[in-house]
C-alpha cells in the first residue's frame, strides 16, 4: 500500500505498524520522536498496535533542544 512519510510517497506492506515504520525509516531515537498520522497525535504507547492504512500521511517530529549538553 502507499503512504506518505515526511512528505514522500512510500510503498509499504499492508497494515504496517508505526513501530515497524520507525525501524524501517531508521529513526535513531524513536523514544524522542512525536508521530502524527493524518492530523492526529499518536501516543507512543500505541506505536506497536497502530496499523497504518492506505494513503495515511505520517510525520515524525523530532525533539530538538540545543547542542550544549546532550544529544538524544
Amino acid at each position: 500500500m502507499k503512504i506518505i512519510v515526511a512528505g514522500e510517497a512510500k510503498e509499504v506492506k499492508d497494515g504496517l505498524t508505526i513501530a515497524q515504520l520507525l525501524i524501517d525509516e531508521q529513526v535513531e531515537t524513536p523514544e524522542y520522536v512525536t508521530v502524527t498520522v493524518n492530523d492526529d497525535f499518536i501516543d507512543s504507547s500505541k506505536f506497536e498496535i497502530t496499523n497504518l492504512q492506505e494513503n495515511d500521511t505520517v510525520e515524525f517530529l523530532y525533539y530538538m533542544g540545543g547542542g550544549r549538553y546532550v544529544v538524544y
Partner: protein, 269 residues
C-alpha cells in the same frame, strides 16, 4: 508619539512597506519582547529586533561570554570574553540602536521567577539550548497567556513554531515531556553550524515582528523544519486538537511550573 527626523530615516525601509508603515513602526517602538537565552538563537534575534526598533527588549541569560560561543553568538565579540552575556548583548543592541530600552536578567529562569518576568512583555522568544528551559518557557507562557516563538537547532538542522494562546498547539501538545534525565542512552557532543542560529533566530525575529505589526501568517499550528545539508524547508501542519494537552488542554493537569533536571555530559560544550 511622533517620529523624530532621525527615526524617520532610521526606519524608512520599514515605513515604506505597506504592511508596516508608520503605524506598524509605532507598534514596534511600543512593543516589549523578552528574549530568553543570549546564545546562538538569541544573538541574531536580539540584533534584528533592536535594529527594527522594538522599543523594549528584555534579555535573560545566566552565563558569561566564552571563546567557544563566538563561532555563532554574533552579538558578542572577542573583547567581551568573560562579561555577562546579557551585558554584552545590551551594549551591542544599544550600539545598533539607542532607541531601544534593554532590560537585562542575569539569572536562570526558574519556576520561581519566570512568570513574573514574562508578565511585562508582549512576546517571548525561546532562544534556549536545553529541554528543561523549553518546557518551563512553554508552560509559563501558556499560564500567562503570552505568545512565544519556540526554536531548536542542532548540527545542520533547525526548527521553530509559534504559540499564540487559543490559536493552535503549544510546545507541550507536540512534545509531551522532556527526555527523562536518567533515560539517556549516550551523551555525545552535538555541535551546530554557527549560521544555523542566524537562519532560525532571524525567523524567530520575523515571527515577533509579524505578531507585533499584526500582518501575515504566523507559524501557529505549524512546525517549520530546516535541513541545511539538503537545503530543505518543510512547513509541517500540526494536529489542531489540543484538548488533551496537560497544560493548554481543556482539563490541564499541569497547573504549577516544573523545574526539570537537565541530564549533563561531562566536558561537553
Amino acid at each position: 508619539m511622533s517620529f523624530t527626523n532621525e527615526q524617520l530615516e532610521r526606519y524608512s525601509r520599514h515605513i515604506i512597506l505597506k504592511e508596516i508603515g508608520a503605524k506598524g513602526q509605532k507598534k514596534l517602538l511600543n512593543a516589549k519582547v523578552l528574549i530568553i537565552g543570549a546564545g546562538g538563537l538569541g544573538a541574531p534575534t536580539a540584533m534584528y529586533l533592536a535594529a527594527a526598533g522594538v522599543g523594549t527588549i528584555g534579555i535573560a541569560d545566566a552565563d558569561e561570554v566564552d571563546l567557544s560561543n563566538l563561532q555563532r553568538q554574533i552579538i558578542h565579540a572577542t573583547k567581551d570574553l568573560g562579561k555577562p552575556k546579557v551585558q554584552s548583548a545590551k551594549e551591542t543592541m544599544n550600539d545598533l540602536n539607542p532607541d531601544v530600552q534593554v532590560n537585562t536578567y542575569h539569572t536562570f529562569m526558574t519556576s520561581e521567577n519566570i512568570r513574573e518576568i514574562i508578565r511585562d512583555y508582549d512576546f517571548v522568544i525561546d532562544g534556549t539550548d536545553n529541554f528543561p528551559a523549553k518546557f518551563l518557557i512553554n508552560d509559563a507562557c501558556v499560564m500567562e497567556k503570552k505568545p512565544f516563538s519556540h526554536a531548536g537547532i542542532i548540527r545542520f538542522k533547525g526548527q521553530l513554531m509559534t504559540y499564540v494562546p487559543g490559536e493552535g498547539p503549544c510546545y507541550r501538545c507536540v512534545f509531551k515531556d522532556p527526555p527523562p534525565k536518567d533515560a539517556v542512552p549516550t551523551c555525545k557532543q552535538a555541535g551546530v553550524v554557527g549560521a544555523m542560529g542566524g537562519v532560525i533566530g532571524s525567523l524567530q525575529a520575523m515571527e515577533a515582528i509579524k505578531y507585533i505589526v499584526g500582518k501575515g501568517q504566523l507559524l501557529t499550528g505549524y512546525l517549520l523544519t530546516y535541513d541545511a545539508l539538503t537545503m530543505e524547508f518543510r512547513k509541517i501542519k500540526l494536529p489542531h486538537n489540543t484538548e488533551n494537552c496537560p497544560v493548554c488542554g481543556t482539563h490541564p493537569t499541569i497547573t504549577q511550573l516544573i523545574d526539570y533536571e537537565q541530564a549533563e555530559c561531562d566536558g561537553a560544550l
